[in-house]
Amino acid sequence: MIFSSFTFLLLFMPCVLLLYWVMPPRLRMPFLLAASLFFYGWGNPAYLLLILWTMLLNWGGVLLMTRKGTPSRLLLIVLLVLNVLPLIWFKYAGFLADNLGRLTGLRLVFAAPPLPPGISFFTFQALSYDLDVYRGDARPQKSFLLFSVYLSLFPQLVAGPIVRYTDLEAQLTAPARPCGAEMREGLRRFCIGLGKKVLLADSMGRLWGSINGNWTQAGTLGAWVGLLAFSFQIFFDFSGYSDMAIGLCRCMGFRIPENFDRPYRALSLTDFWRRWHMTLTGWFKAYVYIPLGGSRRGAVRRNLNVLIVWALTGLWHGAGWHFVLWGLYFALLLIFEKSVLLKSAVWSKVPRILRQGVTFFAVMLGWGLFSGFGLKLFAALTGGYGAASSETLLLCAAYGPLMMICAGFCFLPAPERFPLRRFAAPLLLLLSLAALAARGFIPFVYFQF
C-alpha cells in the first residue's frame, strides 16, 4: 500500500489511527502488528511469508544466540547469512547470474522474481538488531509481538527511515499515549510529506519522464533541466516519504529518527551525506565503516574503508553497475575532499553560496549516474544531441515556476517563522487530494530499493 493513494489516505490511515487511539493500551501492539502486516500484504500477500520468516528468524535466532549469556559468534554469522540470503535471491541473483554468464561465457538464465517492497530496509533493521544484541548495545527482545512490531512498523516498513532497534526498544516496552499536540504535529508532518511527494516530486518526476525517453528532442537544455528535475524529484520523493513515516509514527506516540536535514544546502559532500538518508549512512558507519577500522588506521586504510562502504551503499540501492559506479563516484570525491579539499585553507574561504553550488553540482552529476541512463544522458548534457526542440522549450517553460519553488525549498534557509503555518497542513492535504484525483499517483522512487 502506498501512502499517496486513496486507499491509504481515505481508508487505511484514518481507520488505523482512530482505532489505535480508542483501543485499550494492552491491545495496541497486537493491533499495530496486524495493521502493519495488512499494510505489507496488501500489494501482494505472498510477501507476508518473507517478512514473517524474517521476524521468526531474528527473534528466535537472537534468543538462541544469547541463551548461554555470552552471544555466540557462530550463530551471529549464521543469522547474518540467513538474513542476507533472501536479499541476494530477490535483489542480486539476476545481476550475479548475468555477470557470471558474461565472465564465463555460460548461458545462465535467471528470471529475477519481483522485488518485495522494503526488503532492503527491513533486512537492515533485522541486521542492526542482531549486531546490537551481539555487541551488547541492546538486550534480546523476549516478546515476539514487540519484536515483530519493531520490524514491521508500517509507517517506515517499506522505505525507511531505517530504525535501529535501540531507537525503539524503550518505546516498544512502554509505549507513550499520544497526546493531542503530538497527534496534531504528527498529522501536520504527514501532510507536509504528502505535499512534497504529490505536488512537487510527482510533478518533477513527470518532467523527468518526459525528457529521459527522448534525448534527441530534449537536447542539452532538456538534459540539464531533466537532471535538475530528477534531483528535485528524488529529494522530495524520499524526504516526503520520511516526513510521512515520522508523522504517522508520531501520531501513534513513537519517535523515530530524522532522515533528511536540508541536504541540498550542504557545503561539502561530507556535509551532504550527513544530511541525506541519514539513517542509511548512520547504519553503514556503525556496522561497516567503524568495524573496518574507520579512520583510526591511517589515511590509506581509511580510504579503502570509504571505497568499501560506498561500493556497498551503491549496491544497496540496486543490482546494477551504475549503482556501484555511483557509490564509487562519491567514494572518490569524498576521499579527495577529506584528503585535500577540506584540509586546504582556500576552500573554507570560498563564499558559502559557491561551496553550496559546487556541492550540489557534484551531487546532481551523481544522480545522473544513479538514474541509469549513462552515456546517453551525459552525451545529451554535453551537447551530443543538439540544443533543444521547441517542444522541450515549452515543457521547460511550463515547469519553470514549479522548479523555482522546488529550488527555493531546497536551497534557501528555512524561515524563522512561517505566518500561515497553521493553515499549511490542511491546504497541502486538500491540494494533494486534488492532484491525486486529477493525476493519480506515482510510486515512490525508493520502493525499488
Partner: protein, 371 residues
C-alpha cells in the same frame, strides 16, 4: 488550563480530519454511484472483483474505484487544474486555456499519414467513379496562433507540415480564408465549429459542387445557451464562460434515418440533447455509424460523406442542397469504407470531412479507408 484547552482543540482537529477522510473513503466505497461521469464524459471504473491469490491486483483496482468516486471529484480536479494553470503548467493540461478559449493541444503526426489518406480517398472515389473533395479545417489553436506567445505559436505552426500535402491536392477544400476571426468560427469551450464556421464550410462545399448556397437567414435557426464543450471538460478547469449553440436546419421537410438503430425522425436538431453533458449531440442526436438525410425538395443528388463529429453541424446545412446525404463515421461503423459505399447505393459525389487529428491519427479511419 490553557494547555489543557489547547490540547483538546488539537485532539478535536485531528479527530475531525481523520473522520472526514474516513467518511470520504466510506462514501466512495459504499455509496451507490452512476456508472457514467457527465463532467468527465467517461465510464467510471467498475467495482473490484473478488481477489485471488494467483492474480492479486486488488491494490490498483480499488485505487481506481476510489479515485473515480471520491467526494467532490469535479471540484478536486478543478482545484488541481486551477493550481496548475496558476503555476504556468496550463500546457500540461489535456486542453489549454489560451487567448480566451480552451484549446486542444497541437496535432502531431506524420505528413506521410496525410498523403496515405489522400491516396486511400482517391482510390475509393476512382472505384466509384464520382467526383470527390476532402475538407479538413485548420484547428482553433492554429487559427489563434498570432494571439499566442512565441512558444505556443511554434507548437501550432508544426501543424503546417500536416496541411502541406492537403494544400497541394486539387480536391482539398480550404474553408477559412486569411483573416478569419477564430473566435467566430470556433466555440470557446469546444473543439468543434460554431454555426458560422460550419456555414463557411457549407459555402466551400457548394462552390465545389457548383450548387447555389442558401443564406443563413434562409435556414431555421435555434439557440441553446449554456453549452460547455469537450475542451472545457478535458481541461478540468471550472467553467468561466459557456457558449451558445446556434443550430441551423432546412426549413423544408427533411427525414433523418438511422439504419443501424432502425430509427427515423423528421428533424435534424434534437433540443433535448442540449440539456445533457454532451450538448453537441443536439445535432443529429449525436454520432452514429451510418445515417441518411433525405430532402425531397433539394435540387442536388446524393452525397456520400465520410466524416467525424465535425460534420454534424454541417450536414443540416448541406441537406438544403442535396436530396439525399449518407454519412458514415468510421469510429462507429463496423464495415469498411467500401462496404459503406455499397450500402449507400448510387451516389453523385463524395466528401471526406475530418478534423486534422482524426485524419492523421484515427486508426479506425486509416484501417477502414484502405478497404
Amino acid at each position: 488550563m490553557m494547555t489543557k484547552k489547547r490540547m483538546s482543540w488539537d485532539t478535536a482537529a485531528v479527530l475531525l480530519t481523520l473522520i472526514l477522510l474516513l467518511a470520504a473513503g466510506v462514501y466512495a466505497l459504499l455509496w451507490p454511484h452512476p456508472d457514467f461521469s457527465d463532467s468527465e464524459r467517461r465510464y467510471l471504473t467498475e467495482a473490484p472483483g473478488v481477489p485471488s491469490l494467483s492474480a492479486w491486483k486488488t491494490d490498483q483496482e480499488l485505487e481506481d474505484y476510489l479515485s473515480d468516486r471520491v467526494p467532490f471529484r469535479p471540484v478536486l480536479i478543478g482545484t488541481d487544474a486551477v493550481l496548475r494553470t496558476a503555476l504556468g503548467e496550463r500546457t500540461l493540461l489535456d486542453a489549454w486555456p489560451a487567448a480566451g478559449a480552451i484549446l486542444e493541444p497541437p496535432v502531431t503526426g506524420s505528413p506521410s499519414a496525410v498523403t496515405r489518406r489522400l491516396e486511400q480517398f482517391g482510390s475509393l472515389a476512382a472505384a466509384l467513379n464520382v467526383p470527390w473533395n476532402v475538407l479538413v479545417p485548420e484547428t482553433h489553436g492554429y487559427l489563434l496562433r498570432n494571439r499566442l506567445n512565441a512558444l505556443l505559436r511554434a507548437q501550432y505552426l508544426t501543424e503546417e507540415a500536416l496541411f502541406e500535402p492537403l494544400r497541394t491536392d486539387a480536391h482539398f477544400l480550404d474553408v477559412f480564408p486569411d483573416g478569419t476571426d477564430p473566435q467566430e468560427v470556433y466555440y470557446r469551450t469546444d473543439h468543434h465549429w460554431t454555426l458560422q464556421g460550419a456555414y463557411m464550410a457549407y459555402l466551400a462545399c457548394c462552390r465545389a459542387g457548383q450548387l447555389s448556397p442558401l443564406a443563413l437567414d434562409d435556414f431555421s435557426l435555434s439557440r441553446y445557451p449554456g453549452f460547455l464543450g469537450t475542451t472545457q471538460s478535458r481541461s478540468g478547469l471550472p467553467p468561466v464562460h459557456s457558449d451558445t449553440l446556434v443550430c441551423a436546419e432546412p426549413r423544408a421537410a427533411v427525414r433523418l434515418t438511422l439504419p443501424e438503430q432502425e430509427a427515423a425522425f423528421d428533424r435534424l436538431i434534437f433540443p433535448q440533447r442540449a440539456e445533457t453533458y454532451d450538448g453537441y449531440a443536439v445535432y443529429l442526436d449525436g454520432n452514429h455509424g451510418m445515417l441518411e438525410i433525405c430532402n425531397d425538395d433539394a435540387p442536388g443528388g446524393t452525397l456520400l460523406v465520410y466524416k467525424d463529429s465535425f460534420a454534424n453541424c454541417l450536414l443540416p446545412l448541406l441537406a438544403a442542397n442535396y436530396s439525399r446525404i449518407v454519412a458514415v463515421d468510421a469510429r462507429y461503423y463496423a464495415g469498411s469504407f467500401s462496404d459503406a459505399a455499397a450500402a449507400a447505393g448510387a451516389v453523385d459525389r463524395l466528401l471526406f470531412l475530418y478534423s486534422l487529428d482524426s485524419l492523421v491519427n484515427d486508426t479506425a479511419v486509416a484501417r477502414k479507408a484502405g478497404h
